[in-house]
Symmetry: C2
Subunit: 348 residues, 2 copies
Amino acid sequence: MAEPRRRAARETTGATRQVTMDDVAREAGVSVATVSNALLGRGRMLDSTRTRVLGIAARMNYTVNQNARNLRTARAGAIGVHLPENKSGLAYYMDFCFGVVDVAEEHSLAVTLIPGGRPEVALRAQVDGFVLVDPPVGDVVVEAILTTGKAVVSGDGTPPGLPEPSGLVASDHRAGIRAVLEHLTERGARRVALISAGRSARWSADVEDAYLEWSSEHDREPIVVGGSRLVDAATVESLTDSLLDGPKPDAIVAVPMDAAVGVVSVARDRGLDVGSELLVAGYTDSPSLSVSIPPITAVDAAPREFGRACARMLVRQLADADRPVPGEVESFPIAFVERASTRGARVE
Amino acid sequence: MAEPRRRAARETTGATRQVTMDDVAREAGVSVATVSNALLGRGRMLDSTRTRVLGIAARMNYTVNQNARNLRTARAGAIGVHLPENKSGLAYYMDFCFGVVDVAEEHSLAVTLIPGGRPEVALRAQVDGFVLVDPPVGDVVVEAILTTGKAVVSGDGTPPGLPEPSGLVASDHRAGIRAVLEHLTERGARRVALISAGRSARWSADVEDAYLEWSSEHDREPIVVGGSRLVDAATVESLTDSLLDGPKPDAIVAVPMDAAVGVVSVARDRGLDVGSELLVAGYTDSPSLSVSIPPITAVDAAPREFGRACARMLVRQLADADRPVPGEVESFPIAFVERASTRGARVE
DNA sequence: TTGTATGCGTTATCAA
DNA sequence: TTGATAACGCATACAA
């Protein structure tokens, strides 16, 4: 009764109706339950039945209706990703995001971008869990996300004073900056200055701390200027000037995104040969560092792989149902891209 | 019978059950149908009933279960966004993406990122329509998307030889480059060279064409070098050298993303004062242009607003059901950011 | 080993 | 003006 009516209704629209389990079941001469079980690899059934059903489903171009499946299994079928508003880091975060998409896709999960500014959007988002990256102090959306009670995996530490995330994937920024410092030393640098990105994000605080530790370990006088994650040209210029006007460092590590580009400009302007007279390294790699002249050495935070790692942890937690999640922590290694700006060949 | 069982099952898990229409209906003493109608603003009912139901729903923190709604209304409840793989444009595309998210959110639509490389993912994506941006020639995923038969709005033109998208929002790049050229002329430039991004994307071909037109209109000899959207430092360097070694231009417009940074480096290296002796402009704005020294003038393509415009058109098309969509076209204006690299004060 | 039947939360079609 | 009730496509407990 209902059958012909439905058919008729569909026929009128031009859209080709999606193939459903019913269709597959009818074609295969089995019940929907069997189709479902075959597809999910559940239940016991003749191997011949299973392969036959699978074959027919594939041939008919069947795809599961995620909305129906999610409704039935009481899941949202999506994970939310929240990125910092920080304009100058967008390329990095975009890559991160696609890393999340990579593994979400493998698990038939959609990725929903959670915009900044309106916490209520995050609270109502129909997602099974969240992935954060570089959650900034004072971000209201981050706070909302952490109070939902849903699973949250954070790429790098969350601000203090908020509920802990259920998972943490921490880039080893301390190791990253140390690698840069070792490299510079090896290339002849004796006085390495740091243009810091401040302490407002966990990672940049870590970088600063590790720099200070390293300096004292190696009996070097630390030289730190700056302290903001976002810098404009004028700021970079004056910071660099202040460094080069004082007792001149022979290497500068510029942590704020793309700041190293400005440092190089100023140095060259002063007639310094960047790469030999003055070594310059950025921290987080970005396309403009490789396009600068000379190309600038930087740490490669491997954002896409980082996103993958975060998403993998979240997916694992979601699968592990309501097992008491114990603030899982995982460390993520970061690599190093050597370019001409630290080629060295410096002689004292 | 089923009722107590469900309750019991839920109680055992710690998760607080989502409030459903049933709950609201029970609380309000009406039927689910009435709740649904009240929420959707449909059907005729006493205003008093409607406001009462709405109030109760709000108080109970009711949110519609999108999966159930989508299942019932036979929609996917999401729109897919596909971005070019082009690494160096990521910041721009990210912004674009958030523009799409902005308007999707207003319409309770999720945004699904469609990764590159695997067309089958695009074909099976459960989305009601797609938004593309700068679709590159030869992108297999773009091709797949355009052949799904679903609504597709493209931000800037799609490659020839493929099905036309149902909608097109076109940035007026011809006007953009002309604005740059007028500006440079006004600041004293007489010989303006172009480092082109080639013809592989519609927009960059438009830019090149408009430059040539403008040159002939103003009786200027066109000077065009380059032709690739992605450039590394060495390429930029050699292109700039070739320009500055010949009959010297007094202004250079560098179209590939961030290439202007390299141009400035080379010019300064040669002792040229960028901003007076040589004017330099980028095309698409990016953070590294504003951080360069001197900061570089560029066209501001307003990516977020651009994304909004595309998404708005798509949402409109989706609402207009199966009305014959007539390859809608809309023009999108682009703005202009003047910075020190073209300050001028040049005297012949 | 397979099929039947039920419900997930909504919307839509009736009837009241 | 409102209320029962039947789908939507799928997963699953239970019967066969």
